[in-house]
């Protein structure tokens, strides 16, 4: 039952106490108000933090660490845990908006779990009295929680009512593997490049097997955290492998002697790229239950690969019956593959924002 509003006496007391402050010099300042908006999605948690630009400028001025300070602030502006396990942001952006604010965009991988711990870590560095409005939404825009954070209480724990729905079963991870290879155009193009010059079934089996064995090794090693290589190295390397296979097709004109080794070496690099997809759903790097998802995902990748090879090879062999194909078609396709690889390479290095 609602209690009645305060009596007139209480009301007068509030006003009296409030107006006493004016009998002296003003004591306060404007400590600021920021917001943190989280959207809990199936595979990731997106966070948008908005601060007044002046507050962030003051923080940067206080820590003049040089290049990357703003991004570093953004990276440390919010700490998330799932069932007590820290989540590491996998993408961070900091940019000004048009209303004299600075926006921090962070994406965290969503690990399995129900207790989402949120800590506004920047509050300790902001003026005392700063408040941060925290809102958590689900993927369907439903409000899961709203809270007001301050110096005294910098965090909150939200119980996610619906546990992660996706990628729980063997079949889910199998599908994820198939989906990843079918929509991973860079992997597909590399495979195309390898198979383009194959004229025998046995050679194709050998190349696909070498590629499969190699990427299985690095996928497993990366998922079990035995190898850790930054995407800033892996992704350009994958693009470079595509350029290489295109150029080699052009230069070596069907020479198949080293193709198995080539497929194996670059397969190692592509495996590290596949591991990134598993990390996005919280497998590996602090996630739990690695073996079954890894096996299912890998099987899915192989299934996808075989399906592509099964479609592609008959077409290539059919085309090879025409003399113009090896002479003109293969070089033209190889050139396009190399060009696509070069574009990806540039996008993932010098053009990356």
């Amino acid at each position: 039952m609602l209690r009645p509003p305060p009596s007139t006496l209480t009301w007068c007391r509030l006003l009296l106490a409030a107006f006493l402050a004016l009998g002296s010099r003003a004591l306060a300042h404007n400590p600021g108000l920021s917001s943190a908006n989280l959207v809990v999605q199936e595979q990731a948690i997106d966070a948008l933090l908005v601060f007044n630009a002046k507050e962030i400028e003051a923080l940067v001025a206080r820590n003049p660490a040089g290049k990357g300070t703003l991004e570093s602030l953004a990276r440390h502006a919010l700490a998330l845990t799932m069932d007590g396990q820290p989540l590491i942001p996998e993408a961070v952006e900091a940019r000004p908006d048009q209303a004299d604010n600075v926006e921090f965009h962070l994406r965290f991988p969503r690990a399995p779990g129900a207790q989402l711990g949120i800590t506004a870590t920047l509050l300790d560095d902001l003026p005392s009295g700063h408040r941060q409005i925290l809102e958590v939404h689900d993927a369907g825009d439903a409000l899961l929680a709203r809270d007001l954070l301050s110096h005294e209480r910098t965090g909150a724990t939200i119980t996610l009512t619906a546990p992660p729905q996706a990628r729980h079963t063997f079949v889910d991870f199998l599908k994820l593997g198939i989906e990843h290879i079918l929509t991973g155009y860079d992997h597909l193009l590399f495979l195309c490049g390898l198979l383009l010059v194959c004229d025998r079934f046995g050679t194709a089996v050998k190349i696909v097997s070498c590629f499969t064995v190699a990427h299985s090794i690095t996928l497993a090693a990366a998922t079990f955290d035995l190898i850790t290589l930054s995407p800033r190295i892996v992704e350009p390397a994958i693009a470079a492998s595509i350029i290489y296979v295109g150029i080699e097709n052009l230069l070596r004109r069907g020479e198949m002697r080293w193709r198995g080794l080539l497929a194996f070496v670059f397969g190692l690099v592509h495996g590290l790229g596949f591991a990134g997809a598993l990390r996005e759903v919280g497998i590996g790097a602090g996630g739990r239950g690695v073996a079954v998802p890894l096996a299912a995902f890998n099987l899915g990748v192989e299934t996808g690969q075989l399906a592509i090879a099964a479609v592609l090879l008959p077409v290539i062999w059919r085309l090879r019956r025409y003399p113009a194909f090896p002479r003109l078609g293969v070089p033209a396709c190889s050139l396009m593959i190399a060009l696509a690889g070069a574009i990806w390479f540039l996008q993932r290095t010098v053009l990356a924002s």
């Binding site: 948008l48 053009l351 990356a352």
Partner: protein, 441 residues
């Protein structure tokens, strides 16, 4: 075939080289499309959304705030706007009691909510004006107060106007507004305002007399206002040199509200003047813990230094330097100039404050930090403005003496130093040392 191998080898070397350069240059992360943060955004929460977040705490005021929040959510029309206004004032009271300026932010949300529902609601505008004043937006507060004063008869509107004008350095106009407030409602807040204005104009005896009347109006039933009035009186008694009386009055305030920060500060300063350092530290430590304001921290740091605890003092001073610019730029400027540290920044902070308020203490801060930077012209001009109201304050006289001495006006310097000595007990230990040095020059 050899040529093809050579080209292949060159291609491999080229690509490896490019990758090595990228790695060495520490290029930004690659734009991994699946890992880019979402650009989808939710609508920004409005003032009512913010106010709907349940307040926490166990004090009677906290319970009252939660009750008002529920009343707001269940009401409509006039009942809702009234409840929102009361909620806003409750947050103002909370800010005042906890020294947490974040509650002013919430009070502002309450005022904005009312004004959204009922534009031109005078009570909400008064609330917003009060928040503007508390957030040092004095010029905006004055505009709002003037429009309120012209539209209705309410002593609080005159109070707001008086306070804004006082900070803007227009003391005569502030006195007029305060007189109207007192005419409409002789009360503890109006008496305390008059006392403060009298003190600003150099009438310490008059200020003390009126503050005593205000203190007599206080009652233990409304303990905090009474404690505030006692603390103000203790401050004037301390200024007047009646240190023992000021300790007694501060103790009376503390009997009403235990650990009341303003009373503890005055008590601590009075004990410091009596060289009872250990007792002073006890009061000042509690005061500084309760109220993070820079003048509280500075007083504690100076007391610790006197007590030979330079390391503890340095910790507090470092925190002041770290957060002071955003919390209280003017006090930080005076502190830095007194210590002769980061003097250019001190002057910059003090000058920036002039855009916000033009009272005697801002001119003093500019003058003092200009002197620290060797800018005698700026120091002289601003010191004249700082002294123009006739305020009898040891720190003002100390700064005036230092400027006059450095300016070669030895006689004037000696006169200001003598005036400062009359109130020497109100200076911090570090400032007392400074005064001794100036007096010997």
């Amino acid at each position: 075939m050899r040529s093809a191998r050579k080209k292949t080898l060159l291609a491999i070397i080229g690509l490896t080289g490019a990758a090595a350069v990228m790695f060495w240059m520490d290029l930004p992360p690659v734009g991994l499309q699946p890992a880019r943060p979402s650009t989808k955004r939710q609508p920004t929460p409005g003032p009512l959304d913010i106010l709907s977040i349940p307040h926490s705490g166990d004090t009677p005021l906290d319970v009252e705030i939660r009750t008002l929040q529920k009343a707001v959510s269940g009401a409509s029309g006039r009942t809702k706007t009234d409840s929102l206004t009361r909620l806003g004032w409750a947050f103002v009271t909370k800010a005042r009691l906890t020294y947490d300026a974040g509650f002013y932010t919430l009070a502002r949300q309450a005022a904005l909510s009312v004004e959204q529902l009922a534009p031109n609601n005078a009570d909400a505008r008064l609330l917003r004006g009060h928040v503007l004043h508390s957030q040092h937006r004095f010029a905006e507060a004055e505009v709002l107060a003037r429009s309120l004063v012209s539209s209705r008869v309410n002593p609080q509107d005159h109070a707001l106007l008086s306070d804004a004008l006082m900070e803007l350095g227009r003391i005569d106009e502030a006195v007029g507004a305060c007189q109207k407030m007192a005419d409409l409602q002789p009360s503890l807040p109006s008496y305390l305002r008059i006392a403060h204005l009298r003190w600003l104009e150099g009438d310490l005896a008059g200020a003390t007399e009126i503050a005593r009347k205000a203190a007599e109006m206080g009652s233990s039933r409304d303990a905090e206002p009474a404690a505030w009035a006692d603390s103000a009186l203790a401050g004037y008694e301390f200024q007047a040199g009646d240190v023992q009386a000021s300790i007694r009055t501060a103790d009376a305030a503390l009997a009403l509200v235990p650990d009341y920060a303003p009373a503890l500060l005055i008590r601590g300063r009075a004990l410091l003047a009596l060289d009872r350092i250990a007792d002073a530290l006890e009061s000042l430590r509690t005061a500084a813990r309760k109220n993070p304001a820079l003048d509280y921290q500075w007083t504690l740091a100076d007391a610790l230094r006197v007590n030979g605890r330079a390391e503890d003092a340095a910790k507090i001073e470092n925190a002041m330097k770290l957060h002071g610019a955003s919390e209280d730029a003017r006090t930080l400027a005076v502190f830095l100039a007194t210590r002769g540290e980061q003097c250019p920044m001190a002057l910059e902070l003090a000058k920036a404050e002039l855009a916000v308020r033009k009272d005697v203490f801002t001119y003093d801060a500019i003058a003092w930090s200009a002197l620290a930077n060797g800018d005698l012209d700026t120091a002289r001009t601003n010191m004249t403005k700082a002294l123009s109201a006739g305020t009898q304050d040891a720190r003002l006289f100390l700064h005036a003496a230092a400027i006059a001495v450095r300016d070669g006006r030895a006689e004037e310097g000696a006169r200001f130093a003598s005036q400062a000595r009359a109130f020497e007990h109100t200076l911090l230990p570090g400032e007392r040392e400074l005064l001794k040095k100036i007096a010997t020059q």
